[in-house]
Symmetry: C2
Subunit: 454 residues, 2 copies
Amino acid sequence: MEHLEKQERMEMWEKIQKALIDEQIDQFRAEFLELHPYDQAKIFEEQDGNIRVLIYSYLSPEEMAEVIEQVDRDLVDEFIIEMIPAFAAKILENMSTDDAVDILNELDKNKVASFLTIMDKKASDEIKALLHYEEKTAGSIMTTEFVVIDMEMTVKEAMQHLRKAAPEAETIYYIYVVNFYKKLVGVISLRDLIIAEGDWLIQEVMSERVVSVPVGEDQEDIAQMMRDYDFLALPVVDFQDHLLGIITVDDIMDVMEEEASDDYSKLAGISDVERSGDNALSSAKKRLPWLIILLFLGMLTASVIGRFEETLDKVAMLAVFIPLIAGMAGNTGTQALAVAVRSISTGEMRKKGNMAVIWQEAKTGLITGLSCGVIITLLIAFWYSDVFLGILVGISIMATLLVSTVSGAFIPLIMYRFNIDPAVASGPFITTLNDLTSIFIYFGLATIFMNFLI
Amino acid sequence: MEHLEKQERMEMWEKIQKALIDEQIDQFRAEFLELHPYDQAKIFEEQDGNIRVLIYSYLSPEEMAEVIEQVDRDLVDEFIIEMIPAFAAKILENMSTDDAVDILNELDKNKVASFLTIMDKKASDEIKALLHYEEKTAGSIMTTEFVVIDMEMTVKEAMQHLRKAAPEAETIYYIYVVNFYKKLVGVISLRDLIIAEGDWLIQEVMSERVVSVPVGEDQEDIAQMMRDYDFLALPVVDFQDHLLGIITVDDIMDVMEEEASDDYSKLAGISDVERSGDNALSSAKKRLPWLIILLFLGMLTASVIGRFEETLDKVAMLAVFIPLIAGMAGNTGTQALAVAVRSISTGEMRKKGNMAVIWQEAKTGLITGLSCGVIITLLIAFWYSDVFLGILVGISIMATLLVSTVSGAFIPLIMYRFNIDPAVASGPFITTLNDLTSIFIYFGLATIFMNFLI
C-alpha cells in the first residue's frame, strides 16, 4: 500500500461512504478500520457535520481515539466540542496521555475541567500531572505510558512483564531500569533483551550509560540530542533522577518541524507561525507588528536622507541609486544573519568561537563587496558615462557590503550572548537597519566628494 | 548520564588522554569505549594528527567504525584519507552501508575505486549497489541491512531468525515479510511478534497494510510520510514490489534538518547551505550569485527612477521616502513568500486551492496596507507638516503593500505549478522585484499629482 494522495483518499472514501449512508455498519467498519489511522483522520477531516455524527455513532471511543490522535491540531477542538461530552471524555481517556494533553491545551479552561471530571480517575490524574508543565519543555511533550523494570528482575521476568505492558505502552523498544528507590539506573533495548539468556539479571545486561533529560529541558535541545545520538526514545527525570516519563521519536519529529517553521517565519518577519485555519484578519495581525516597527525605522532612514537635502538638491541623480544601495545592504545582511542563526542553532558557533566567526564574515563581506563594487563602477561608468558617479556608488557598495555582512552576523551573536533567541533578529529588521547605514555611507561620501560630481 | 556539553567532554578527555599518551592501552580503551559513540566522535574530531594516529592504533576497525559513523560529514574525508588504506577499508566494511555510501560520496572517484577493491566482496557489492542511486532519493538514504522473513514461517522460527540477524541489522523493530517471489507482502512489529503465540504463522499475524516507497522517491516526501504515519522505518521497493532496503527514522531526522537548513538558506538568498568547514572565499562564492543578479535588478530600479528625473528635480523631497516605500514592499513580499512556501511544503496549499490562497493574501495585503498607509499619512502630515505629501506616501504604501503581498504569494505558486522548487524564490529576489514595483507606483502617483506637491 502506498501513501494515499488526496485523490486516492477521495476515491476510497466514495466506496466507504455508500456503506455509511446505507447504514451497513459492519461493511463500513470493516473498510474504514482497514485504513491507516492517518488516512482515517484525513478522510474524517474532510466530512461535514452530518457525516461526522454518523461516524461517531458507528465507531467505539477506542477506535475514534486513534483517528483523533492523527487529526490536524488546528481542527481538533471543533470536533471534540461537537461530540457528546461523555463520548469525548472516553476518547481522551483512550489516547496517549501526551496527545490528550496537547488537545486539552487548545480548549478553554472550563471545558477542560468538565472533561477531567467525567473521565475515569486514573486517566484524569495522568493528564493533570502533565497539564501544568510549561509549553515547549520536556514535561509538555513526554508521555507517562512507558515500561519500567526493576534491576533485580531476571531477563525472563522482564520479558513477561513486557508482554503484559506492551499494549498500553507508547514504545517497548527501550526499557528503562530503576533501582529500589525508583531512580533511573539503566536502560536496555528490546533488541538486547531478546538476545539475552532468560536467567541473567537485568542489572548484568543493562547499559548504565543511560542518557536522560531534566523535565524542564527545552524541546529544541532535546530534538538536537535525539538526532545526534540516534535515540528512539529519551527518559525524562526530575532533579533526583526519578523517572517521570519518556519522549519518543515521533513527537520529536513534530518538534523539529515546528521549530523549523518557527525559525523560517521569524526570518521573514512574521511574529507567529500562520496556521491553515487563519483568516485574512488574523494573518494581518501576525504580520503587522513588524511592519509598523519597520515603518518607524523607515521614517528614521527618511530623516537621514532629509539631512542631506542640500546634497540631493544639487545632484538629484544621486536619488536614482538609493534603492540599489539600500537593497544590496539589506540582502547581504540577511544572508549573513541566516548563516549566523543556523550555526548558532546547530551548535557550530560554539566550536568556532565568536571572534573567528566575525572575522570570517568580515573577509566574506570584503570579497563580495569588492566584486560587486567593481561591477557596479563599470556598469555606471559605461551606461551613464559618469566615471565619478560610478566610483562613488562602487565605493559605497563596497563599504556597505562589508558593514552589513559583519552586522548581520554580529547582531544575532550579541542576542545569543544575552540569552535572547537569535532567530528573533528577523530579516526585515536587519534589512531596515542596514538601509539606514548604507544611506548614511552613500550620502556621506557624496557630500564629501561633492566637487567631483557637479 | 547527561548529554555531554563541550566543557564536560574536554574534562573527560583530559582524564582519558593521560592513559593514551602513557600507552596504558587497556585503561584508555576501557574509558573511551564507555562513552556514547557520538561523544567519542566529538572528542576524536577535536584532536590533532598525532593523537589521532595513536587512537587508530589502539582501536579495532569495528570500534573505529562506530566513531566514524558519528563524525561530522564535512570532516570525515580528511580522516579516511590519512588512515592506512587497509584500515580505512575495514572501517567502511563495518559501518552501516548507508553511512559508508555517504562518506564515499564525499571522496574522489579514484579513492572510492581503490577502497572498493581492498574491501571484502560482500561489503563492496552492497556499497556499489547503493552508490549509483541519485542523491536525495530513497535509494541514496536507504540501508540494505534489514531483517526479512518469509510469510510461511511460524512466529517461533521468525524469532529464532531475528535473534541471529539482530547484530547485523539496522533495526529489528519492524520486520518485513516477503512471499515466495521475494515480493513485499506484509510487515510485523517486534512488539506484535513477541505477543504472538509461537506456533502461529507469520502470514496470520502480519499486517498487510504495509506502506512502502519507490526507490526513486524524493527524500523530503519520505520525511513527511514518516512524520505523518509515525513510522520508525519504511521499506523501499522497486517497481515490482521487491524489497530493496529500508529507511530508518534516524536518517530521516537528518534529512529533515538538512531540508530545513536548505529552505532557510534559500529564503535568505544563499545558493547552497554553508558548512562549518567553509572559508571566507567559499562563503562568498555561495552568496555572490544572488548578489550579482540583484545588482542588475537594482540597476533596473535605478533606471525606473531615472525616468522620473524631471519629477525628482522639481521635488527633491520625494527621494527621502524611497527607502521607506521600497523597504516596506520588500518586507511584506518576503512575509507572504514565506507563508506560501511553507504551506506548499506542508501540503496545506493543496487543501485550500490556489485562488483561495491568492484571495486571502489580497485581503491580508489590503488590511496591512490600509493600516500602514493611515499611520504614515498621519506621521508625515505632523512631522513634515505636509498633508499632500503624507497622502501621496500613504496611498503609495497602501497600493504597494497590496501588490507586494499578492505577488509574494503568487510567484511561488506559479513556480510550484511549473515544478520548480518554490523555495528558490528567495527573499532577496522578491524584495528587489517589489522595490521595482513600489518605486513605479510611488513616482507614477507623484508625477500625476505633481500639482499638489509644488
